[in-house]
Point group: C2
Chain length 167, copies 2
């Protein structure tokens, strides 16, 4: 089974830190994503401080996995000079790369949606003292999975159309 | 080297069709992407008709790879009942999955940005007679690579911040 089919959203983790060399691999994977006009309109905050993670949990109901995640990577979205229309897509590709590389490394993770919901991104900006024209895009909760969840295949042939729209 | 580090944007292809079983693997990978509230707010159009590909080339300057691509997958974005704020991110994850699976299968591809640029998505809607509350999200040009391009690592340590914003 390919890496892509093995990825699963993991929301519960054991209490074991992610070694720094694996954190670097995750960040390398994120930054290797394609971006419109190769603008790479991103930065990354790595959080492994338990007290800060506890504050980030309060961002939204979906942020609960940070209660047990030992690592949170926060991709930051900043407007590039070119192609600002596609910045969200660029950051999304980087996020998916990180989640897939987590699977590849025996870790697990889940994408916690943040931007463009101002309630969510402003909470994180307050916790981390972020100011200016750059915003938290999402939070990726990462760690060693507590349980393996079965893979549910989502392929749906009815959603495929050949050479024309409709059936 | 992991799959993610091997992916490259490929814009020139040899004249060899992509077998249908590989097309299915690409679509399976796209639909396996995570989505907010598991809404899977997508459909997919598969184009391998040369005449239609030639019309799609006219979408934008970035669509030129469709001159030689033997396959174009067009993920379609449609609002889910929940989490419409994150639909673009869901479609982006699906797109990145397809590009990575293309690499995994010995194919190559490139992400041609479309939505939310109305000039681009309306052109495609005209070519394919698409109407209603669903839009072409992007075009993924796919085929067998004409040349291998060297991998340029994009990792930039200056873009990483630990447990706080700034240095």
């Amino acid at each position: 089974m390919s890496l892509i089919m093995k990825r699963n959203s993991i929301r519960n983790f054991i209490d074991k830190p992610v070694p720094s060399d694996l954190v670097t691999k995750l960040l390398e994977s994120g930054m290797q994503a394609p971006s419109a006009n190769n603008q790479q309109p991103w930065e990354f905050i790595v959080v492994d401080d338990r007290e800060i993670l506890n504050e980030l949990v309060k961002t939204s109901g979906g942020a609960r996995p940070l209660n047990t995640a030992t690592l949170c990577i926060i991709p930051m979205i900043k407007p590039g000079d070119k192609s600002p229309l596609f910045n969200i897509q660029d950051l999304s590709a980087a996020t998916e790369n990180i989640l897939l590389e987590a699977t590849n490394l025996g870790l697990g993770g889940v994408w916690i949606g943040v931007y463009p919901d101002p309630v969510r991104y402003k909470h994180i900006e307050k916790v981390l003292n972020i100011t200016g024209d750059i915003h938290p895009f999402c939070m990726i909760a990462i760690g060693y999975p507590k349980n393996q969840r079965p893979i549910v295949k989502r392929y749906d042939e009815s959603k495929v159309h050949y050479n024309k729209w409709g059936k």
